[in-house]
């Protein structure tokens, strides 16, 4: 076929094609939802604008308060006696016997553990950012998502309204343990969602591994680490799937997006056997990583996991359904 024949064939293509189903009901639903939201948000938006103005007037944007909890931490080259101010660009450093408490603007606090080095990078009302060069911090933030960030050599922890402990060595090998809310750990190539009661290993250059729950069995965790960071990924993946329990669904949800495309079906089938997908999520959609299917599945997995965590010791929750036994 020459180019002219190709262009002739293109010219004969129909300009109009009817979709295989009527798309109007979905459009109508979304339009009506928008109409409702438009009016609903007017008073809320006004209140939010007023709140921002009031908060903006009272925030001091360029420095955070620091209190020494033990020993005498350093801010820059100066020893901190009892309390002081950490300014943008300043480094706060603790030795093996000192600790400090940093107020994250007005949205939370970070306890800086011994042998830790952190820098205040951004201190604005809409972005609070620390760099953790090495050591351990325990953060507690009470704010809307994506206001507090911690950069590490392996990636960035993004607060989604939470409490967590983050540890790293100077090369970026470390661990994130979330004890409240949810944290996203992100690099340019990968991200991991870590809800309360879950952990994720982090590594330089590779970023976050696959998150796992606190009570995951040690062999399962070892298999995940082997899959994420070592050689022999195929065997590690098989082991992971064989050892997975319904409680480990959040790990398999991440795994689905990390295995090579031909293996996604195997991971999906195991995940679906442990925690059945919610209505609307299809095998084909999930394997193709359609955001709608992935989000739908995550919502169910997260909701079951959340119930398990908050009702721990109070009620026994079926990890397949999220219902009380």
């Amino acid at each position: 076929m020459n180019e002219q024949e190709l262009l002739d064939a293109v010219g004969r293509l129909p300009k109009s094609l009817e979709p295989p189903r009527d798309l109007w009901p979905g459009i109508s639903t979304r339009i009506n939802a928008r109409l409702w939201r438009r009016w609903y948000w007017v008073p809320l938006a006004a209140a939010a604008a007023l709140a921002l103005v009031l908060i903006g007037r009272s925030i001091k944007p360029t420095a955070w308060d620091v209190t020494a909890l033990a020993g005498r931490p350093l801010i820059g080259t100066k020893r901190l006696a009892a309390s002081g101010r950490l300014r943008v660009g300043d480094w706060l450093q603790t030795d093996d016997s000192s600790r400090a408490l940093v107020a994250v603007g007005r949205i939370g606090q970070v306890e800086v553990q011994p042998d830790t080095r952190v820098q205040l990078v951004v201190a604005r009302a809409n972005e609070h950012r620390l760099a953790l060069a090495r050591g351990t911090i325990a953060a507690k933030v009470d704010a809307v998502p994506r206001l507090f960030f911690v950069d590490t050599p392996a990636g960035t922890a993004i607060d989604l309204g939470c409490a967590y402990t983050l540890a790293t060595d100077s090369l970026g090998k470390g661990l994130l343990h979330v004890t409240g809310g949810e944290v996203e750990f992100q690099t340019r190539q990968r991200s991991a969602r870590v809800p309360l009661g879950a952990l994720v290993q982090i590594r330089p250059a590779l970023g976050p591994g696959t998150p796992y729950v606190e009570d995951a069995p040690a062999p399962f965790v070892r298999a995940l680490i082997a899959f994420d960071f070592e050689k022999g990924r195929a065997r590690a993946m098989r082991t992971t799937l064989a050892l997975a329990r319904p409680q480990d669904a959040l790990s398999l949800w991440h795994l689905l997006q990390r295995v090579a495309p031909p293996l996604r079906g195997v991971v999906y089938d195991r995940l679906a056997a442990l925690v059945p997908p919610p209505p609307g999520v299809t095998r084909g959609g999930a394997i193709a990583l359609h955001p709608r299917d992935l989000e739908g599945y995550w919502t169910k997995i997260h909701s079951i996991h959340f119930r398990r965590m908050v009702l721990r010791g109070v009620r026994e929750i079926n990890p397949r359904t999220g219902l009380a036994r």
Binding site: M1, N2, E3, L6, L7, A9, V10, R12, L13, P14, K15, S16, L17, E18, P19, P20, R21, L23, W24, G26, I27, S28, R30, I31, R34, Q186, R188, Q189, R190, S191, L206, Q257, R258, A260, P261, G284, G285, I287, A288, L289, H290, P291, R292
Partner: protein, 177 residues
């Protein structure tokens, strides 16, 4: 009268808007299908286009034909969504297989029995790499110029020409097999 319909829809008349949907959905769906190369994505994008149309309709001043204006809106919606999805998918993909981002978008098959459709050519277009397909559809099927395509897609004009050349060569090779 089409102008009446637009005016009524601009005033918030959903019956008129539905009639606009009925009149233009085939053209918009065909564009979405060819730009995405995926039947399921095309359905979603078509819905996105009409939801966006509902939001933007008041800004239509009649300076061009309504169908041309809607067509341009549809192109923007599809290309914006691809840019956003590309970013989102790259975030969750392992560093070692970035190519899967593109492959993942082609899971749903094209309709195989649409009357009057040149199935082989449609399929070959759908199988083109994203960049080449977008330029081919916009230039050879929809009649945009390289300057416009460069602006819409966010590439250099030379890249648009190179992608078109590549797309035509790939199509000829596919159709000769």
């Amino acid at each position: 009268m089409p102008d009446d319909l637009v005016a009524r829809a601009q005033a918030g008349d959903q019956t008129a808007f539905r009639e606009l949907y009925r009149q233009h959905t085939g053209r918009v769906y065909a564009l979405c299908l060819r730009l995405t190369g995926d039947a399921r994505d095309a359905e979603e994008r078509t819905q996105d286009v009409f939801v966006r149309l509902w939001d933007k309709l008041r800004s239509f001043r009649g300076e061009s034909a309504f169908s041309s204006w809607l067509h341009r809106l549809a192109v923007n919606v599809v290309l914006n969504e691809r840019r956003t999805t590309g970013r989102r998918e790259r975030r969750v993909m392992p560093a070692e297989d970035p190519d899967n981002v593109v492959g993942a978008q082609h899971a749903a098959p094209l309709p195989s029995s649409t009357p009057g459709l040149s199935i082989d050519l449609e399929r070959a277009i759908a199988e083109l790499p994203d960049g080449a397909r977008e330029v081919f559809v916009l230039y050879d099927i929809e009649g945009y110029g390289h300057g416009e395509i460069a602006q819409l897609v966010g590439i250099a004009e030379g890249t648009s020409k190179a992608q078109l050349f590549r797309a035509r060569r790939l199509l000829r090779e596919k159709l000769e097999r």
